[in-house]
Structure formats: structure tokens, C-alpha cells
Symmetry: C2
Subunit: 450 residues, 2 copies
């Protein structure tokens, strides 16, 4: 990180001193990701100037690493001819990523500078459902025929491979463009020149459909440690491939979505700092109000026990600690189950095992917390007396057991109903637990205190 700042400083100095020859040289020899980062720090004018110092290849590379604001500014400012040259060099999936976010006038500017064939493809890509395999894939891959020799295949790779996103996995198709095999470049390298592809290829190919969800695709990558995965249409025709570097982004995106749901937020793909205040507020108000209104139930429970509270108002002092601990205990359980499900470690078939485990964990935690609380109240809350201490401690123990059980049941229930288990996390669990916890607390207190 600090090294990066030094590089940026150096580039800024070159820019300031007008040594553009050197600046051009440095920019074109840096990592494209770093140059893109540098551009984000520049003023709009300097961005454009520096961008024009990049070679054609480098410009396309750097462009695909930029954030959408910078991309839009660049496309807005450059000539049609320059747009054409970037689009020519860029991989189709990167172009589509940009177009998905871009405003209509820029989309037009790009499409008008794209040849008819590529334009058709782009439009097709823009029509794949968001977060589907189709929207992730690239069409720049190496196609081979099963009858080729290794020597021919290598020639084909040398001849057609330069503009492919990967040449390390090659795909074998038949006359109907149906995917019939996969052969890693590695196999070709170690094979004799006159071997036939058909004998070398793996014909038991795992592929995904254009409409498959990206989460499934990511899970397949995790399980098999793929470098790339072919994407077919419903007829089994090969239409694209997905490479592992795009999957890394998908995994982050899916996890962020889960975390947001778990924190009672409407999920969003946008970076925090770039999301307007009003959008952030809207994404939060929905669940906050739902949960607040559901909280009315606990008000009713408390008001039901009006006379108990009037007789021993000190009991109200332990409401937050009991509901709070219940919420925490429930969150712990639900988080473990939700994450286990997301990683494929826990399935609905494990439901009974999970519930039985959580009940036992709950009993251990409940007993420990009850005892700790009893000791704590005896020594710290000295004005409460034995029976109140006992009521709070017993409630604490019972509430923890109950919260653990609810905490694991709700995600399982969601999964069974084909809902996203991530919804059933801390905030929702707390709200559900609150009312029940209060009933337990007041019932126990009624017995001991009144």
C-alpha cells in the first residue's frame, strides 16, 4: 500500500514536471490494476490526458479495472474512434460489465462504435438475467475439434489464441457446436504431436447453463478447483466460459449480500462510499420499521404484567439484559447455521442433528450464564434480594436454551421453504425471542417474587 503511494507520487511528479515521455513509459509498464487506481485519484482533465498516453492494449486493460465513475467519464470524453479501439481490445464480458452500469447515452456511444456481430452478442449478454452464468461468461475461448492432432491443435491455439481470455483450457465441440470434451493445454504440452484430441480429452464434462445462478457456479468452482467452466445453452451448445478470476468477485458479492441480509439491510451491489445517503436510508428503513412494529408484541407482554411490575418495579431493570442475552445467544446459533448452509456444510437433511446439537449447546451455555448471573447479581446488584436474583438467573438460563433453538430452527425453516436463510439472523431472531423471553421471565418472577 505504501509502495503504491510512492509510485503515485512519482507519477504525479512526472506529470507536474511535464516529462510526458517518461510518464508514458512508466504508465505503460505498471500493473493495469495500479494504473486504474491511480486514475481514480486524478482530476477529470488529467485522467483524460493520462489515458491518452496508454497504448491500445494497456488502455483496454486499465479501462476494465476502473470504477464505473471513471469509466463513464472516460467514455464520455474520448472520440468515437478511441471508443472503437477500446471496445475492440476489451474482452466481451468486461464490455458488458461496463454497459450494465452505464447511462443510456454512453451505452449508445459504445454500441454505435461496435461492429454488427459484436453488437448482437452484447445485446444477447445484456439480456441474461443479472447474476446468472450467462451474464458472467466470456465468449473468448479456444475451440478444438475431436479429430485434430495435438500438433494441429497447438497451431490452432497459436493462430486464434491471442485474443482469448484463457488458452489454458480448450473446449472440443462437434458440428452442431455441442460441447463434447475438454482438454487442458497442459495435456497438449505433455502429449506427442500426433496424438488425437479425442483420445486426450475428458468427455465427462461438467458444465453450467446460461440461466444458472452465479452462486451455484461459484460452488462448483469451489468443489472442483476449476480454472474455467463451460457454459451451454439448453440444447447443450457451448456459448461461453467462466474463468476463476471472475468467481472470486462473485464469492465476495454473494457474501456481502448474505451479511447485509443478516444485518436486516436490503442487499445492494454498490460500494458504501458511492451510495447516496437517501438510498442507504431507504435500504435500512424497510427492515427497521418491520422489526419495530413486530416489537409491539413485547410491549403487549410487558403491559400484561403491569401489576407485577407495579409491585416490584425493580424487575423492569433486567428486561434489557434478558432480551439482549437471548438475542445474542440466538444470533450465534443462527449465524453458524446460515454460514454452514451457504458453504454447503449443512443441508436440510441435517435438521434434526442441528436442532439436537443446539439444544445441548443451549443447555451448557444457559447453565453457565445462569450461574454467572446469579453470582454477579449477588455481588453487584445488592439491592435486589435472593428471589429476584434467582428469577433473573433461571430466566436467563431458560431464555438461552430457547434462543439457541429458535436461532437454529428459523434458518432451517427458511431453507425448507426455499427462502434465503440469511434473512433469519440476529435482528429477526432477537425480535422473535424478545416476546417469548419476557413471558418466561415474568412467569418465573410471578412464582418467586409475588
Amino acid at each position: 500500500m505504501e509502495e503504491m503511494l510512492e509510485v503515485f507520487d512519482f507519477l504525479n511528479k512526472l506529470m507536474a514536471s511535464g516529462d510526458y515521455v517518461r510518464l508514458k513509459e512508466e504508465l505503460n509498464s505498471e500493473q493495469p490494476a495500479n494504473v486504474a487506481e491511480y486514475f481514480e485519484e486524478l482530476t477529470a482533465e488529467k485522467q483524460l490526458f493520462a489515458f491518452r498516453l496508454l497504448t491500445k492494449d494497456m488502455a483496454a486493460d486499465v479501462f476494465s479495472y476502473m470504477d464505473s465513475d471513471t469509466q463513464e467519464h472516460i467514455v464520455h470524453s474520448i472520440t468515437d474512434r478511441e471508443v472503437r479501439s477500446i471496445v475492440d481490445e476489451m474482452f466481451l464480458d468486461d464490455t458488458v460489465d461496463f454497459l450494465e452500469e452505464a447511462p443510456a447515452n454512453l451505452v449508445k456511444k459504445v454500441l454505435r462504435n461496435t461492429d454488427a456481430e459484436k453488437r448482437t452478442l452484447i445485446n444477447q449478454f445484456l439480456n441474461y438475467p443479472e447474476n446468472s452464468a450467462g451474464s458472467l461468461m466470456t465468449i473468448e475461448f479456444v475451440k478444438l475439434r475431436s479429430t485434430m492432432t495435438v500438433a494441429n491443435a497447438m497451431k490452432q491455439i497459436k493462430y486464434t489464441g491471442t485474443d482469448k481470455e484463457t488458452i489454458y483450457t480448450c473446449y472440443v465441440i462437434d458440428d452442431q457446436r455441442k460441447l463434447i470434451g475438454v482438454v487442458p493445454l497442459r495435456t497438449l504440452i505433455f502429449a506427442a504431436d500426433d496424438n488425437i484430441i479425442e483420445e486426450l480429452m475428458q468427455d465427462d464434462v461438467v458444465s453450467v447453463l446460461t440461466t444458472d445462478d452465479q452462486e451455484e457456479v461459484a460452488n462448483s468452482f469451489k468443489k472442483y478447483s476449476w480454472m474455467a467452466l463451460p457454459v451451454t445453452d439448453t440444447e447443450g451448445r457451448l456459448v461461453g466460459i467462466i474463468t476463476v478470476d471472475d468467481i472470486v468477485d462473485v464469492i465476495d458479492q454473494e457474501t456481502t449480500e448474505d451479511m447485509e441480509k443478516m444485518a436486516a439491510l436490503l442487499p445492494s451491489d454498490d460500494e458504501y462510499l458511492k451510495t447516496p445517503v437517501i438510498v442507504l436510508a431507504r435500504n435500512r428503513i424497510v427492515w427497521l420499521s418491520v422489526l419495530m412494529i413486530s416489537g409491539t408484541l413485547s410491549s403487549f407482554v410487558i403491559l400484561q404484567y403491569n401489576s407485577l411490575l407495579e409491585a416490584a418495579v425493580v424487575l423492569s431493570g433486567f428486561i434489557p439484559i434478558i432480551t439482549g442475552t437471548g438475542g445474542n445467544a440466538g444470533s450465534q446459533a443462527s449465524t453458524m447455521i446460515i454460514r454452514g448452509m451457504a458453504l454447503g456444510e449443512i443441508g436440510t437433511k441435517d435438521s434434526l442433528k442441528v436442532v439436537w446439537k443446539e439444544i445441548r449447546v443451549g443447555v451448557l451455555c444457559g447453565a453457565a450464564l445462569g450461574i454467572i448471573n446469579m453470582v454477579k447479581m449477588t455481588f453487584i446488584n445488592t439491592d435486589t434480594g435472593f428471589w429476584i436474583d434467582l428469577s433473573v438467573s433461571l430466566s436467563m438460563a431458560a431464555v438461552v436454551v430457547l434462543s439457541k433453538t429458535i436461532g437454529c430452527l428459523l434458518p432451517i425453516l427458511a431453507k425448507t421453504m426455499k427462502l434465503d436463510p440469511a434473512m433469519m439472523a440476529g435482528p429477526l431472531i432477537s425480535t422473535v425471542v424478545d416476546a417469548v423471553a419476557l413471558v418466561i421471565y415474568f412467569s418465573i418472577a410471578m412464582t418467586f417474587v409475588l
Copy 2:
């Protein structure tokens, strides 16, 4: 998933019918990851039997995909000779992964069946700190010299490449084994036979140190879309490489750790279903008790307002809804900040921007929730009266603003103090917010209700 069950059924049938020739054929042509999954469903006896049907290569592959229980059972049951053959075939990083988890007697059994050179390496690997680049890397990579021609390099790859984890990125070292360049196989394929490596290689190499944390390594992969990354010692000597498929696991592991911390759990690498109840309970009791004891503060606040509550016991009915909403509002803010920090989207330099944004979001959310609550209480909680409704609604609004501010401040504070921001999530935020929320609530109520 269903397809998989069909495959398993088929394999079981072959096993039951005693058609071992066919079973052997099927097992050896399946994906190693699937065979490993199948083994986990078998009884110990059948596992061993089926394992012995695998070819040497396949056995090593399948072994590295197995869970640790199955691995241990296999190593425990097979002969020394078989152990030797698996260890020979396995990549060093997979062997080390197994040894890190295995009980001492199995570690001995493996080490005694490893040649001296490999044993030294394994011991060295076992000494790298857990979760460091050193513990992740593999030593099976292709080394080239800068003076080689492309033809020579290709020969070297063909000759030495078969047992390398990847041949797609080759590393150029000097006489002192110092890393001086990287050249993708792709570049070699497209180059002329008599080109010299020195002219083709990228000499501006990004590398990591053996002691670097895996999270930094993962971030580097994300930023640059690498396939592999070289690892050097402090002298700049190349000691290993990390490939992208291992990074996918690291990303999952790091996220799980964050989520566990965010749910007030002690983080653990073990799968939920395989963790004993007592360990699960221990990982939860620590934070549950800390938070419960901290909750004493809110008890003190409430008991401070004894006389107010005695005068208007109905006020206690809204304690959970106010503290709950505060907790939820705070969790939302902290989750967004923690995640943004983990993804590198938010740094400490953005602190002021973040706080100012959260205050504005808080005001919007607070105003909305205050109004919704006022309407709700007027129509649902009809026995409370205007002044109590107003007290609760105003408190709600103020508490939301405050919680948002605390929710974003605490992770920033943690980051500044070089602590893990993930700790500062829902449970901790709720506990902090509770006491302050209650002070606000009762102060407002004092003014309007008494």
C-alpha cells in the same frame, strides 16, 4: 446434486453386486472431488476397499479432497508402502494440510515414509505461522533461467512440468535462486522459438513473503486477477507459489471468521457438524458472559429511574422496542462499515466521510421511524396517551441517530487501534447502545410525562 446421488447409487450397486472390475473403472474415471464425497458416505471397511481400487494418481488426488476424518482413517489402515506411494504423488501443500490436522501417530507414519529431502521441506512448512503465505504455498512450480530460449524453456517445461501444480505461470530465477521475472506459458506459446526468456519475462514482479498473512495474499489476488503468486523469503529467494484455487478457500475461511466475530463467537476453522457440543458451547459462553455482564449498566440506568417507572409503569413496556431498534440500527451501520473495510472499499482515511454519512442516514431513518412509531402507538397502543406516545417516538428518533453514529464509530476506532473491526458488530454495538438509549428515553419521558 441429484445427479451425484444417482452416481453414488450406481457405485453402491456395483459394490453390492461384486462387479469390482466395473467399479474400479467407474471410480477412476469420476471427478476426484466426487469420489472423495462418495467415500465419506461409506463404512470404514468399504472405504478402505474402494480406496485400494484407485490408481496411484487418482488415490493421491482423491485423498487430498477428503475430509480429515476420512483421511485419518485411510492413513491409519493402509500399509507403509501405500502411504509412501500417496505421499509421493501428492502435492506438498496438500500433504502439509493433512499433517497439520492429523494426530501425532499418523504424522509419524507419514514422515517415516517420506524421503529425507521431502521430510525437511515438510517440517519447514509445518513451522510457518498458521494462515501465512508460507503455509499456503506449494513448491511444485516451473523454474526457468533468463538466458534460455523459448524452445529450451518449452523443453524444460515438458521435461519437469508433469509433477508441478501449475505450468501456466513460470518463474525466472538467478544463480542465487532470487526471483527476477515471471513469464506466463501463454507468452511462450505465442513467441518464436529463438526468443530469449529475458526479453519476454515481466521483471516487475509482485510477490509476497512467507510470513505475510493470507488475507493480504487474497486481497492481492482479488486486485490483480492473478492465477498464481510467487512467495519469497526475506532475501528475495523464490521458495514457493500460491495458486488461485487455494485462495478461494482462504476467502471463504476469512469471511466465516469475520461472520463469527460479528456474531460474538470465538472464531473456529472447524465445520459445525464436526465440532463437539462442548467446544461450540465454550466458543459462545465467553462473549455471552462478557456482554451479559456489560448489560449490568442498563440495569443501573433503569433502576436509577425507579420513581419515574413507579409513577408510569407503562413506560417499561417500551424498553425492548427502543433498545431493540437501537441495536438493529447500529448493526446495520457497523455491518456495512466492517464489510466495506474487509473488501478494502473503506479505509481509516474515510472516517470523517463515513461518520458524516451515517449521521445523515441516521437522521432520515430516525425521522421515519419516529413518525411510523407515533402513528403506530396512536392506533395500536391506545391505552398510552399522547405524551407517552410522543416520548417513545422522540426517543426512537434520537436513539436511531445515535446508534448509527456509534455503529460506524466503533469499527473505525477498532481499525485505528489495529484491532479487528469485525468484533464491533451487532452484539457489542447493541450492548453499548442499550444504556445510552435508556438514558435518552427516560430523560425525554421525565420532561413530558412527569
